[in-house]
């Protein structure tokens, strides 16, 4: 059994919305004294059973019943939509605030990077801020002095180290702040979306540094919306949704689930009269297994179940395919194959499947929108409901280097001397 370094047991965090307190000092004092003495809260409304429930609906659970074990040396990626509870989880582990219920057990020194440049004072010079920021993050003065040259080197602000940081450009500021934090040497490092700042070069450098940190055997917890970075750096992942730990597992599974979650949401735009409607849909390979990825030149199927709510004489179905810049790239309809959908009685459910062969779009991410209707109108239209990627392989075309992203399609060709 691997060495567990962080263990969360039934951890929950509750926040109060709106104004805090009963609103007046006297009522609050009343409540405070009652609490000390052990009596019931005199200001609580009659009928409210559990103090932790919503009192006037003004409480929210940012985290609910999180149970998690993190082992030594793991690099854990934490993903989820905004508001899922990722930052709250990190704040709890960083001791910035404490849990409402539950325990967090920690073995080893934790250093958190929740924000770049914490404690930086604009009047102080770069050098003074390195010391201050380093000390705030938990380093001793000796440690900072021993790493000082490395930090300055990494940040690239050597010439400006004796100028007050209020004169720095925002890029220099961010590089310096990250440089200090990057040289922390705790057993457990917690990083919250700080890689989102800075230009591309900085991001590359930052990810490189994170990689070397994780390779050195430290435990790292990493929150990011940049799924590529998460996949590059992390070994394990967790998916947070609405304050609960939705899923835990291998990092690629987690990132796929997260991507699919963004598509699955009710915010999917859907329109139509619904005299006939889609019940479900999926994309699969030719053996029927659900996939979200194909190789260039491969075949795939899209299967949808649709139910008719009235007698329908004839109907058409189309697939619209758009790329991730929302450009309309492909259009498939049942008429292409002379396939008729007709005489559907009321209440009947149909399963319709369309197979696409030799997909020749440029490698990238695509979205399929499904349309059901006829010349009189739209029955059901779901926008961008299936997301899939096309990967470059050598089956279709033997190009040994990546495709030019500007080209929308890929063409097969044979070459000869004449």
């Amino acid at each position: 059994m691997q060495n567990v370094v962080i263990k969360l047991e039934n951890v929950s965090k509750q926040y109060r919305l709106g104004n805090v307190g009963t609103g007046t000092l006297s009522h609050d004092l009343n409540r405070f004294f009652a609490k000390i003495v052990g009596r019931e809260d005199p200001t609580m409304k009659v009928g409210v059973a559990n103090k932790l429930d919503t009192i006037d609906g003004r409480y929210v659970w940012a985290l609910q019943d999180v149970n998690l074990e993190i082992c030594d040396g793991e690099v854990l990626g934490i993903v989820g939509k905004n508001g899922a509870g990722k930052s709250t989880l990190l704040k709890l582990m960083s001791r910035v605030t404490s849990p409402t219920t539950g325990d967090i057990k920690i073995k080893g020194r934790i250093a958190s990077l929740l924000e770049v440049g914490t404690g930086f004072h604009p009047e102080l010079t770069g050098k003074e801020n390195i010391y201050l920021n380093g000390a705030i993050l938990g380093m001793t003065k000796k440690e900072i002095t021993s790493k000082f040259d490395e930090i300055v080197e990494f940040s690239g602000v050597k010439k400006y180290v004796n100028t007050p940081v209020k004169r720095y450009s925002s890029g220099m500021y961010v590089r310096l702040a990250f440089a200090v934090a990057a040289h922390l040497e705790p057993e457990i490092l917690i990083v919250d979306e700080v890689l989102a700042v800075g230009d591309a070069e900085f991001q590359k450098k930052a990810i490189g540094k994170m990689q070397s940190v994780s390779r050195s055997g430290r435990t790292v917890l990493f929150v990011s919306h940049n799924l590529t970075a998460v996949e590059q750096l992390c070994t394990k992942g967790i998916l947070m949704q609405n304050g609960t730990l939705k899923m835990e597992g291998k990092v690629h599974d987690i990132t796929s689930a997260y991507k699919q979650m963004s598509v699955d949401e009710n915010e999917l735009r859907r329109s139509g009269t619904r005299v006939m409607e889609f019940l479900d849909y999926k994309m699969s390979d030719l053996s029927g297994k659900t996939i979200d990825e194909v190789f260039l030149g491969d075949h795939f199927s899209v299967t949808a179940n649709a139910r008719s709510n009235e007698q329908i004489d004839f109907c058409d179905m189309t697939l619209d395919i758009r790329n991730d810049s929302n450009e309309f790239i492909g259009h498939i309809t049942n008429a292409d194959d002379a396939f008729e959908i007709k005489n559907i009685s009321k209440g009947k459910t149909l399963g319709i499947s369309v197979t696409v062969k030799n997909i020749s779009f440029s490698p990238g991410t695509y979205y399929i929108s499904l349309w059901l209707g006829n010349s009189y109108g739209t029955f059901d239209y779901i926008e961008n409901c299936i997301r899939f990627t096309i990967k470059q392989g050598d089956k279709f075309i033997g190009r040994p280097f990546p495709f030019d992203k500007r080209a929308k399609t890929v063409l097969q060709s044979t070459w000869n001397f004449k």
Binding site: V96, T97, K105, E115, A135
Partner: protein
Amino acid sequence: MNTMTNQQQANILPDEWTMILRPKRSLLDINLRELWQYRDLIMLFVKRDFVSKFKQTILGPLWFIIQPLLTTIMFTIIFGNIAGIPTNGIPKILFYMTGIVGWTYFSTCLNETSQTFIKNASIFGKVYFPRLALPISVVISNLVSFVIQFVFLLFFLAYFMIKGSNVSPNALVLWIPFLVLLMAGLGLGFGIIISSLTTKYRDLTHLVTFGVTLWMYATPIIYPLSGIPEKYRIFVLANPMTAVVETFKTALLGVGQINYIHLLYSFCFTIVLLIIGVIIFNKVEKTFMDTV
């Protein structure tokens, strides 16, 4: 309540966990060891306060002296000359200055500590370090300015002594370090309490500056304790700073009363205050970031 069950040190816990974070915490737990570990940080905060105050100023640290000097001159003119309040035979300037130098340390400690949580909410929200480190750094950096002002005061004292005034500093001067500690304790104690309360009730900060000024008038700074009629003296004596300031003045100027019982009262008051402060601070510390 058994403080051991919530203890955060490795050698006491089963499973060798370094730390267990729980919703509640024992009332009186101050992790002194942790504060010591963060001593570099405390000193850096002190340094930060100094550097940021005087960067890009012409007069720099001279401001430490100019402020009390100007206040002394103003008091001398208004209270000494115009209002004619007696000073027990001591040169007016010296009388007021001594009181002011003594009082300033306490008032700046109190004013600055009471704003700790609000002013530093942004740092507190992003990183953990023992929250007490900031109030302590305030007390230390004010100590430095106190020393500067004190030395300045000594120059004045020497000047007046050479001039032949009847001021006689005496062995009571040895009490001064203790008095400084008391002032730090009182400032820190009140400051922590107010700081903890301001996380919820912002308007307390306005009360503080106002209250401290009023408090000054309740302390024998612009008047000697002996100048208060007997029947009102008990009210002035209820003020813990009275004994401190009186002793300070008596030690340096040789005129006034020293009463060990009053000093004991101030001492006990300070201890109780610090305990209450720590209790309230602990209660608030863990979750104040949610409401500040």
